[in-house]
Symmetry: C2
Subunit: 421 residues, 2 copies
């Protein structure tokens, strides 16, 4: 064993080996100038004797005004999947399924085992920021006889000329998003959700994704995608005055009463966007920055400043041309260019090995959230579809739109206000 | 935004937002009873201004007696792939490739960018325990005219009756194992290694895997696999007297001089073992424990004790039968039952979505290390192949055996003693 490997092993043990019983605090001091970690976090019900690190113990509440997994910080691992109700299953079966799923989500997000026949995959791990988020697709409402309660916001998205959509991996009656900072915790939840489906629903499609691990970067910097680009800079911030209004359906809005069950909910657009990475990587750094309109390393606009500096869309360079090209992705997608359209993008990267064409089957599981897709995703994508320089390097391969109800109150299951309202 | 989501965001920012310039220490105190993390780790060359957490900054040395990625603790993400030399490429091209790959591995493991046209995917992240490990398959030696230096230990493994091997996903001239505690850092390395291959070699197969994230569990407990079983309990420990002898080829052993280039190296057996999880999950907990011979939750033998307690193979239960059944996986694979055969298992789990049969295409990327496969993997697998109760629930789908040379000295590249010796 090399010296360096020993160092790693020691520092990891130090990180994990926090001390004491539930609730007690412990201090593990390093002798080699490495990390020192102190943790005061109680072991979770499924945990063993020791204490968990901050990553392991981090827990997101199942109940609340919003479902978890929308404003929750990006997690390291994700499973995104859609189900179709089985032939013969209707509103009653759907309600029972949502009740089962909600109970499983509640338990697992608390770090508990599933109610019956837990697979054990997450035993001795903490909840690791697990979230399970549920949504309903357009077709769900026919299957359950609830078309009168289907909001217009769930109408199918318009066609975009650059779309190359696979219907088998698009849409679906029910949508589930699982995220966690540990791969085994996420997979455990995936298996439990699939098992709960029983005879009521069948998996229509399923995708896996990932993001940075907690602690991998020095600062809470915006994430990068597999093109190496800083991604998510222009995301609306919860601190902004109109954040709630843009991302969540008003609790008592002007809409018809039959859509009130969506008050506090949000709409998710989910797209598998394959990146043509071999082509992208052939471009020089300067070419890539012209396509995006930003400095690759820092994410700053080509017109200067830092990642969060506003784009100077009118700035002309010494060659007499706009510094941020007319077809640059950052220009076309800028909220200022889209009537203030805003969506909260919360994606995962994906990598499914090598595609048939020999290039990596990799890209972005694009997930964006908004109170109204016609004011969020659609106007931006319409512009990108026509003139985005980036479109030569990406391919939209699937698409789904889902109504994601508000978070459940204590004792409630997700979607209860729709299914029993 | 729900209260709990805010808590998570704060505690994550606290975890990441360690303070001060390189080398300085900072203390971030939590007000909500969450984690407190103090870090004294300098930012790496590719990092930004802040400091990295222990997870991000953890760095494994490229140079050394052994290659990294053998005794390095399990990492959260892995890419395992094999290349074949391109038609016409021989010893000279292979040497140039190993020199390129070694330089890339050295730089990336230090948290630096690739030497040319870095993709930027890992910018602002630390090395995150990245390791890149290289090996040579049986066919490499014909392609490079080096059959005289091919050790007998690299002779093809015997056939096992339960094998269902796909030759397209087996073997290969060159083998690369990438591991890191961050998915983007690992993918960055994968892309750089693939690009370095240039015209000299083509990807033969590629697989992705994962393990627990650092901090997900309370204790440095042995990992679990996707069946929920504690996995790796009987692994030899570096502290054991014969660890080196069992896992690594002696530096100056009794073998022929033409194999001296492998002194300090090890042999890796790599198998994609699909788990038939739907079938497994139908078994009761008691049935599963009979198959394995251990308590599922604790990993302790059915004969009692804790995870590390030795199996009492002679113990008879009240029913007059052996408490650990004759075909239990733990009995058959026990070193005591295999003439002390020992291998260091260092796997990744895999999950490639849903297979054609509708069940999860998931399982274990089994990777084991030994000084001699005929004394490590082969005798154990021969016994498992015949009588392991677990074999009804798994399927070996691919197999590879690779000679993994010792770690490079300063200025050396991996395999130089073979290719230029």
């Amino acid at each position: 064993m090399t010296e360096s490997n020993t160092d790693i092993e020691i520092s990891r043990r130090r990180l994990l080996g926090t001390v004491g019983a539930a609730g007690a605090t412990g201090l593990a001091l390093g002798a080699t100038g490495g990390a020192l970690v102190q943790s005061a976090i109680a072991a979770t019900p499924s945990g063993g004797t020791g204490s968990l690190s901050a990553v392991g113990a981090a827990r997101v509440a199942f109940h609340g005004e919003r479902q978890a997994g929308i404003t929750t910080p990006l997690q390291a691992k994700g499973h995104v999947l859609a189900f179709d109700l089985a032939p013969g299953a209707g509103r009653k079966e759907a309600a029972a399924l949502m009740r089962r799923w909600s109970e499983t989500a509640r338990r697992l997000m608390a770090g508990e085992t599933a109610a019956t026949a837990d697979t054990g995959i997450a035993l001795d791990a903490g909840p690791c920021s697990l979230t399970v988020t549920f949504g309903f697709g357009h077709s769900f409402f026919e299957r359950t006889g609830l078309t009168a309660r289907r909001p217009a916001a769930l109408d199918p998205l318009p066609d975009f000329s650059s779309d190359r959509l696979d219907p088998q991996r698009s849409n679906g009656d029910l949508w589930v998003q699982i995220g966690a900072d540990d791969g085994l915790v996420a997979f455990h939840a995936l298996r439990a959700i699939q098992k709960d489906a029983g005879d009521a629903a069948r998996v229509r499609w399923q995708m896996d994704g990932f993001n940075r691990s907690p602690g991998a970067t020095a600062s809470p910097m915006t994430s990068r995608n597999l093109m190496g680009q800083v991604d998510g800079t222009n995301n609306p911030k919860p601190s902004e005055a109109d954040f709630e209004k843009r991302i969540f359906v008003p609790a008592a809005g002007p809409g018809p009463a039959e859509h009130a069950w969506m008050g506090g909910g949000s709409y998710a657009v989910v797209r598998r966007i394959r990146m043509l990475l071999d082509e992208w990587d052939k471009q020089s750094l300067a070419q890539q920055e012209q396509v995006i309109g930003r400095n690759k390393a820092t994410g700053a606009p080509l017109t200067g400043g830092s990642e969060t500096t506003a784009l100077d869309l009118d700035k002309i360079g010494p060659d007499g041309k706009a510094v941020i090209p007319a077809n640059a992705h950052a220009r076309i997608s800028a909220p200022a260019q889209n009537g203030g359209a805003a969506m909260l993008r919360r994606p995962f990267s994906f990598h499914d090995g090598t595609a048939e064409d020999g290039a990596p089957d990799a890209g972005l599981l694009f997930i964006c959230w908004q109170a109204d897709p016609l004011r969020g995703f659609v106007p931006v994508q319409r512009k990108l579809d026509r003139g985005d320089a980036l479109s030569a390097f990406i391919r939209h391969e699937s698409s789904g739109l889902y109504a994601v109800p508000p978070g459940p109150r204590d004792g409630e299951y997700v979607g209860q206000r729709l299914l029993e309202g």
